[in-house]
C-alpha cells in the first residue's frame, strides 16, 4: 500500500506546475521547459490547439447561419461576453462560475487553453520608471520592489519572441523596445499627431506598439508564425499566427521541448502547503468532467490563473501556517485590487480628407501616452491616463425605397466622412477597501467558495474622467474636429479586463505578499506573476509587463532550482 502511494505520487510529480495557460502562464511554461524542467500546465477550460480549434477563423460572413447573431435558445446559457456566432466558442456558460458582486464588477474570463491571449487587444506598451516610481513619489499603495532597469532586458526578451511592431519614439515615459516595422497611422491620425506637436509640449500621438508580426524574423518562423494579414478577425484565433497568443507561440514552443504536460479541464482548488518542509508541495485540482479531486506535486509552482483567479486560489489555499490564505501574514491578500479606468470615451466627426481613404485593415490604433502628472504633480488628481485614438472612414448605403432602386443603392455604398474616436486608460490608485474575498458559504459547482468582488471607483477616478473629457474636447477642437462627444460611460470596474493586484509585490513582507522575484515572501517556491502581482496599475495595457515579469521570475526560479534552493 505504501509502495502504491509512492508510485501514485511519483506519477503525479513534476519539477514545476504552472497554473493557467494564458498570456503569462504560457511564458512561465516556455521558460521553465526551455530550462529543462518537467512542467505540468494546468488549465481549467477545454483544450484549444492552434489553428485546428479555431472553427470560425476562415468563415465568410455568408457562412454564418444567423450572420453573427446568436440564437435566443443559446443566449440563455451564457454570460454576455463574446455573444456573436463568430466567437461564441469563447463565451462562458453562465453556471460555470457564479460570483457575488458586493459592488458592480464586470468580469470577463477566457476559460480555455490560451485564455485571454486569444482575445486581447494586443497593445503592448512598456512601463517606465515614471510608473514604477509612482507609488513612492506620490504616496499611495507601496513602493515597487523593482525598477525599469530590472525589467528592461526581459521586455526585450519577450518582445523579440512575441513580435512587437512599433516606432522608436524616444519618449522617456514610454520606452522604446525591440520593434518590427510599424503599422502606419492614417491621414486623420497623422493630422492629429501634427496638431498635438504644434500645440503641446507635454503630449504626443504615436502609433500604438502592438503584438502583430509585420516582418517575420527567424524566431517567428521557427514558431510557425507568419505576417499579420490585416484581416482584423483576431478574436476568432489567427490561422497565420499573425498576432501573439499562447496557443500560437509559447505553448507549442514549450511542448516541442518534450518537457511540458498540458492538462486542460483542471480547475485548481488550492495550493498544498507542506507544514513540515515549510513550502508548497503541489496543487489540488478538480477534474472539470469527473469532479474528482486530484493532487499534483512539484518543487516550483507558478500561479498564472488570471488576476482574479490567482487571488481566489491564494485565498483558498488554507493551512495551519497560513489560515487566511497562502502567504497572507501581512493580511493584504486580496486587497489593493485595482484595474484601469476605461470610463471616458469620445468621438467626433472630421471635415475634409475626402480624397483620401484607407486600404486593408488596421489591427492597431494611435496612442497618446500619459501626459498628466508625469514629471510632477500638476492636477488635482493623482496619476493620469493614456488615450487610444482611432480614426476611420466608413461607408453608408441609402436603404430607402424598394425593388430595383433599393437594390442599386445597396450595391453602390458611398464613402462616408471620416470619424475619430478616443478612449481613456486611466491609472486607478489601489486602495485597501477595493478587495476580493471568498464567500464563507456559497460555493460553485466544483465545491470551490464563490468570489465576492468589492471594487469601486474613487473620487480620483471621477476627476480623471472629467479631465479626459476636457482634454479630448480641447485637442479635438484644435484639430478642427466637429460634433465632439466626450462621455463618462460610468462603466463598471473590470470592464477594461485589466484586473490587477491583490497579491502585490513589495520589499516589506509586512505590507506585501510577493518579493521582487515574485516569490511568496514566506513560501519561496510559489511564484505569482500575472496581473495579481501588480503593486500599481500604470496606464499601459498590462499584458507585455506580465510577460516580462513572468519570464524574469521563471529564469530566477530556474537558477534557484538548480542551486537546490526551492
Amino acid at each position: 500500500m505504501a509502495n502504491l502511494n509512492i508510485n501514485a505520487r511519483k506519477k503525479n510529480s513534476y519539477d514545476a506546475i504552472v497554473i493557467g495557460s494564458g498570456i503569462s502562464g504560457g511564458w512561465a511554461a516556455k521558460e521553465l521547459c526551455d530550462g529543462g524542467l518537467k512542467t505540468l500546465v494546468l488549465e481549467r477550460g477545454r483544450d484549444v490547439k492552434h489553428i485546428e480549434d479555431y472553427p470560425t477563423a476562415n468563415k465568410h460572413p455568408w457562412e454564418f447561419e444567423h450572420r453573427g447573431q446568436v440564437p435566443l435558445a443559446l443566449r440563455e446559457n451564457y454570460g454576455r461576453s463574446f455573444m456573436r456566432e463568430e466567437t461564441l466558442h469563447w463565451a462562458l456558460k453562465a453556471d460555470e462560475q457564479p460570483f457575488v458582486q458586493e459592488k458592480p464588477f464586470t468580469w470577463t474570463r477566457g476559460y480555455h487553453v490560451g485564455g485571454k491571449s486569444l482575445l486581447w487587444a494586443r497593445q503592448t506598451q512598456r512601463w517606465s520608471d515614471f510608473d514604477f516610481e509612482g507609488p513612492a513619489r506620490d504616496g499611495y499603495a507601496i513602493d515597487w520592489p523593482i525598477r525599469y532597469a530590472d525589467i528592461a532586458p526581459w521586455y526585450s526578451h519577450v518582445e523579440k519572441f512575441a513580435g512587437i511592431s512599433g516606432n522608436k519614439d524616444g519618449l522617456p515615459h514610454l520606452p522604446d523596445g525591440e520593434f518590427l516595422p510599424p503599422i502606419e497611422l492614417n491621414c486623420v491620425e497623422q493630422h492629429l499627431q501634427g496638431v498635438l506637436a504644434k500645440n503641446y509640449t507635454d503630449r504626443q500621438l504615436i502609433q500604438g506598439r502592438c503584438a502583430h508580426i509585420t516582418s517575420p524574423q527567424p524566431i517567428h518562423l521557427q514558431q510557425g508564425r507568419g505576417k499579420c494579414q490585416h484581416r482584423n478577425l483576431c478574436n476568432r484565433g489567427c490561422p497565420f499566427g499573425g498576432y501573439f497568443s499562447a496557443n500560437a507561440s509559447t505553448l507549442p514552443w514549450a511542448a516541442k521541448t518534450g518537457k511540458m504536460t498540458l492538462r486542460p479541464d483542471s480547475v485548481v482548488h488550492s495550493i498544498i502547503y507542506d507544514e513540515k518542509k515549510g513550502k508548497a508541495s503541489g496543487v489540488r485540482i478538480i477534474d472539470a468532467n469527473t469532479k474528482e479531486m486530484i493532487e499534483y506535486y512539484a518543487k516550483v509552482i507558478f500561479v498564472n490563473a488570471g488576476a482574479v483567479n490567482s487571488n481566489m486560489i491564494m485565498l483558498n489555499s488554507i493551512s495551519e501556517r497560513f489560515p487566511t490564505g497562502l502567504g497572507n501574514d501581512s493580511g493584504v491578500l486580496g486587497k489593493y485590487f485595482a484595474c484601469h479606468n476605461y470610463r471616458g470615451k469620445a468621438n467626433a466627426q472630421v471635415e475634409g480628407f475626402l480624397d483620401k481613404t484607407t486600404s486593408g485593415k488596421n489591427p492597431s490604433n494611435g496612442y497618446i501616452p500619459r501626459f498628466r502628472n508625469v514629471l510632477k504633480q500638476d492636477t488635482d488628481f493623482l496619476r493620469g491616463y493614456s488615450i487610444g485614438i482611432g480614426a476611420g472612414r466608413g461607408t453608408y448605403t441609402n436603404r430607402d425605397g424598394i425593388g430595383e432602386d433599393l437594390k442599386n443603392q445597396l450595391i453602390h455604398p458611398q464613402l462616408g466622412n471620416w470619424n475619430v474616436s478616443a478612449w481613456m486608460q486611466g491609472e486607478s490608485v489601489p486602495i485597501e477597501s477595493n478587495h476580493l474575498r471568498l464567500h464563507t458559504e456559497l460555493k460553485d459547482k466544483y465545491g470551490i467558495p464563490q468570489l465576492i468582488t468589492s471594487v469601486a471607483w474613487t473620487e480620483n477616478d471621477d476627476k480623471m474622467v472629467k479631465d479626459f473629457q476636457e482634454q479630448v474636447n480641447e485637442m479635438f477642437s484644435r484639430a478642427g474636429f466637429k460634433n465632439i462627444n466626450a462621455n463618462d460611460t460610468k462603466s463598471n470596474p473590470g470592464s477594461d479586463i485589466h484586473e490587477m493586484g491583490g497579491v502585490r509585490m513589495g520589499a516589506d513582507p509586512k505590507t506585501s505578499i510577493l518579493n521582487k522575484w515574485n516569490q511568496v515572501h514566506d513560501c519561496k517556491n510559489v511564484f505569482v506573476t500575472d496581473g495579481a502581482c501588480m503593486t500599481s496599475t500604470g496606464t499601459q495595457n498590462p499584458s507585455l509587463t506580465y510577460m516580462a515579469i513572468t519570464a524574469r521570475a521563471a529564469n530566477y526560479a530556474l537558477s534557484e532550482f538548480k542551486k537546490r534552493n526551492l
Partner: protein, 203 residues
C-alpha cells in the same frame, strides 16, 4: 465557395461534439421533411393543394437548420422578400436564398411576440391585397406588391410597420451578406494582407 450550411460546421464549434446528436436529429428531420414535400408533390400530381407555406419553397431553398414554423405564411412572406429585392439582370433575394435565411432568423433569433406579429401581419397583407386588388398578395404583379409594401412602410399602423421594417432589414442583411453581393459588388476581401493608412480615393 460553398454556401450550403452544413449543420456540423456550425459556427458554435465549441459545442460541435455535444451537438452532433442534435444536428443529426435535425438533419434527419429535414431529410424527412424534404422527402415528404417531394412525395406530396408527386402524389398530388398537381391536383391536391400543397399547404400554402410549402408552395414557395423548392428543395434548394428549404432552410437546412430552421426549426419548423408551421404557422408561418411562407408563401406570402417569400414573395414580400422577393418584391423588396427582385431578380433582374442581377440576382435578387430569391436566387440568393434570402427567404430561407429569414425563416431561420425568425425561428431562432426572435422572440415569440415578434414572430406572432409576423404571422398576423402576413394575413393582414393578404387581406389588404384582397380589398384593394380583389386578389391575394401572391397573385399581384410585382409593381402592385411593391406599391402595397411602400404604403405599409409610410403608413400609420405600428404593427404592420414593425413587421415590414423587420422583414426589410433582414432582407437587406441577407442580400448584402450573400457571397454573390459581397464578392461581385462590395469589394469583399477576407485577407487584405496589408494596411495603408492614407491612399487616394479611386473614382
Amino acid at each position: 465557395m460553398n454556401t450550403y450550411f452544413c449543420p456540423l460546421q456550425r459556427s458554435d464549434g465549441f459545442y460541435l461534439i455535444e451537438q452532433i446528436k442534435i444536428t443529426t436529429t435535425l438533419q434527419y428531420y429535414y431529410m424527412q421533411r424534404r422527402k415528404s414535400i417531394k412525395n406530396m408533390a408527386l402524389l398530388a400530381g398537381g391536383l391536391i393543394a400543397l399547404p400554402t407555406w410549402a408552395k414557395a419553397w423548392s428543395l434548394e431553398t428549404l432552410p437546412p437548420m430552421a426549426l419548423p414554423l408551421p404557422t408561418l405564411e411562407g408563401n406570402t412572406l417569400a414573395l414580400i422578400i422577393e418584391a423588396i429585392i427582385p431578380e433582374s439582370d442581377t440576382k435578387g433575394a430569391k436566387s440568393l436564398g434570402v427567404p430561407a435565411f429569414i425563416n431561420t432568423m425568425l425561428a431562432d433569433c426572435y422572440d415569440k411576440k415578434v414572430v406572432e406579429n409576423v404571422e398576423k401581419s402576413l394575413t393582414r397583407v393578404d387581406n389588404i391585397a384582397q380589398s384593394k386588388f380583389q386578389q391575394g398578395f401572391t397573385a399581384l404583379p410585382l409593381a402592385q406588391k411593391q406599391a402595397l409594401l411602400l404604403e405599409i412602410e409610410k403608413g400609420e399602423d405600428k404593427d404592420l410597420k414593425d413587421f415590414y421594417s423587420l422583414i426589410k432589414n433582414l432582407t437587406i442583411q441577407g442580400y448584402t451578406t450573400s457571397e454573390y453581393v459581397l464578392t461581385t459588388f462590395l469589394k469583399y476581401e477576407m485577407v487584405p494582407g496589408h494596411y495603408h493608412g492614407c491612399v487616394p480615393v479611386k473614382s
